[in-house]
């Protein structure tokens, strides 16, 4: 009886622990695979030959063609920020802080994070789908047989473009967002334009903008990395490419939020 009891207890423990262990092990394996992928990709970013033509094409794709969507996001965010902070701060007669709140929120947080989320949806998905399709149609194998390293040809240009273009996009997003707040402040909340602008720059520090741009560079890298990693490792036809795209976007979004916290902590915790 006791031996049978032990056996049942053992299988129960196994049944609960085995899946947990399996998930944990596959998580670690993935982490290791991403680390190796990143390391290889970085080496190929800094060793010749460089494919400048491809880098420029990716830069245009990430930087230029993302402008409309990032601009729209930024202007409405700036506008809503002005409205919300005005009605909120009016409760304790601090309406004057609207301009400062808008500019600090945009440069420190909302500019990089919202631009990052939009670009992750746009670029992360397209990278994963494109590289994933190249994988399942053997185009990546074809690159290798033509003596061209896929890391160098496909991954490195995307990482470089993501890393350099996101900060530029965020500069634009910051400016447009502040402008959105200005529009609402002046036209709807009856601020004096000159006063609003003075208040905008009065408490703004270099660190606010710089921290936002560091975030942007980091997000850009993460978006490209996740797009490339999941696309590169996609398996099994159209469905595999679909899964790769989902994984690329979701993991990029989550990593953006995690890194956002970590970088904020690094810059602003006392």
């Amino acid at each position: 009886m006791s031996s049978a009891g032990t056996q049942i207890r053992q299988t129960l423990v196994e049944r609960i622990c085995a899946p947990v262990g399996r998930v944990f092990l596959s998580f670690l394996a993935n982490l290791g695979a991403i680390a190796i992928f990143t390391g290889r990709a970085l080496i190929h970013c800094v060793t010749p030959p460089f494919y400048w033509r491809l880098v420029v094409r990716q830069m245009v794709d990430i930087g230029y063609y993302s402008l409309p969507v990032v601009g729209m996001t930024a202007i409405f965010t700036g506008m809503v920020l002005a409205l919300q902070s005005y009605s909120g701060f009016a409760r304790f007669s601090a309406e004057g802080a609207v301009a400062t709140v808008v500019v600090l929120s945009m440069t420190r947080e909302l500019g990089p994070v919202l631009a990052g989320l939009m670009v992750a949806g746009r670029i992360g998905a397209s990278m994963a789908a494109e590289i994933g399709t190249m994988r399942v149609t053997e185009q990546i194998d074809a690159l290798t047989t033509l003596s061209t390293n896929p890391y160098k040809y496909l991954v490195a240009p995307r990482l470089i473009a993501g890393l350099t273009m996101m900060p530029l996009l965020v500069v634009v997003a910051d400016i447009i967002g502040v402008f959105g707040g200005f529009l609402i402040g002046v036209n709807k909340l009856n601020f004096n334009p000159a006063n609003y602008l003075t208040r905008t720059f009065e408490f703004l520090e270099t660190k606010d903008v710089v921290s936002g741009l560091v975030k942007a560079a980091c997000f850009g890298f993460v978006i490209s990395l996740m797009g490339c990693y999941h696309g590169y490792n996609s398996r099994g036809g159209a469905q595999g490419v679909g899964t790769a795209t989902i994984n690329a976007v979701v993991s990029a979004l989550i990593l953006i939020l995690i890194f956002n916290y970590l970088i904020t902590e690094l810059f602003f915790s006392k």
Binding site: T137, T145, S147, T148
Partner: protein
């Protein structure tokens, strides 16, 4: 038996398993310089895996692969890229780069790996397209605008563009109608003859195998179970080969139909 000094590719005791599934189980194969070997075998017997192991796209579990007497299983990075300069490969699905024009596809290996100038590479690409019977205008199209047969021809032009010493053909006629298949076969025979290249092909299309092979090898159960000159395939005396070339469901080879 081939004399060692004439051997271009030597594969010995090659093993590869994916998880529990053993695909290559001690495979031995020699390809002589200038010889055309066709490996036949059923679907899923590991023909593609064999090619990919030699190309370094898949790492074998154990065994030895030598090209020109040099062990290549451990090569990676620049050394592997250098080695690949000797190779050309025609992929089953053509695997043309759809972001590039047709001529850029053909000239890809010349421009990227050998650093040739665009104009010169363009010229060569047009010549190679002509060799596979395509007009210069085709070079300006994108691969998606071509039919399957034309894509295959472009892929063939890309494989031979850099005049490699060794060319691999992965199911060159699959997915084509019999006539276009034969056109491709003729082109392969002609191009290989012109280049004097060593070729290794895999196919389950026997008409194609008879046309392009000097020697046929049959892959079954992860091993080469028979190999001989193409003329002798009809009297191989091997039940497996007989079953395969006559396409019979009954015989020593058991297809896994139900689970």
């Amino acid at each position: 038996m081939i004399e060692p000094k004439h051997i271009k590719i030597r594969v010995r005791n090659l093993h590869k398993a994916f998880g529990q599934k053993v695909v290559l189980n001690g495979l031995d194969l020699d390809v002589a310089r200038g010889e055309s070997v066709v490996v036949i075998g059923g679907s899923g017997t590991g023909k593609s895996v064999l090619l990919k192991c030699i190309l370094g796209l898949i790492r074998p579990d154990s065994g030895s692969i030598q090209v020109d007497g040099k062990e290549i299983t451990e090569l990676s990075g620049t050394e592997r890229d250098q080695l690949m300069l000797k190779f050309g490969m025609l992929f089953q699905g053509s695997a043309l780069f759809d972001s590039l024009k047709v001529w850029e596809n053909v000239a890809f290996g010349l421009m990227q790996a050998r650093g040739m100038e665009r104009e010169k590479a363009h010229e060569i690409a047009i010549t190679k397209l002509a060799q596979v019977g395509l007009a210069p205008e085709v070079g300006e199209l994108s691969p998606a605008e071509l039919s399957g047969g034309m894509q295959k021809r472009v892929a063939l032009a890309r494989a031979i563009a850099a005049e490699p010493e060794i060319i691999f053909f992965d199911e060159p006629t699959t997915g084509l109608d019999p006539i276009m298949g034969d056109v491709i076969n003729d082109l392969i025979v002609k191009c290989v003859h012109d280049l004097g290249a060593t070729t290794l092909s895999i196919t389950h299309d026997l008409a194609s195998a008879r046309k392009i092979a000097h020697r046929i090898a049959m892959l079954h159960g992860g091993k080469i179970i028979w190999s001989g000159p193409v003329e002798s395939i009809d009297r191989s005396g091997n039940d497996y080969v007989d079953q395969f070339i006559h396409g019979r469901a009954e015989g020593p080879i058991k297809m896994q139909v139900s689970r």
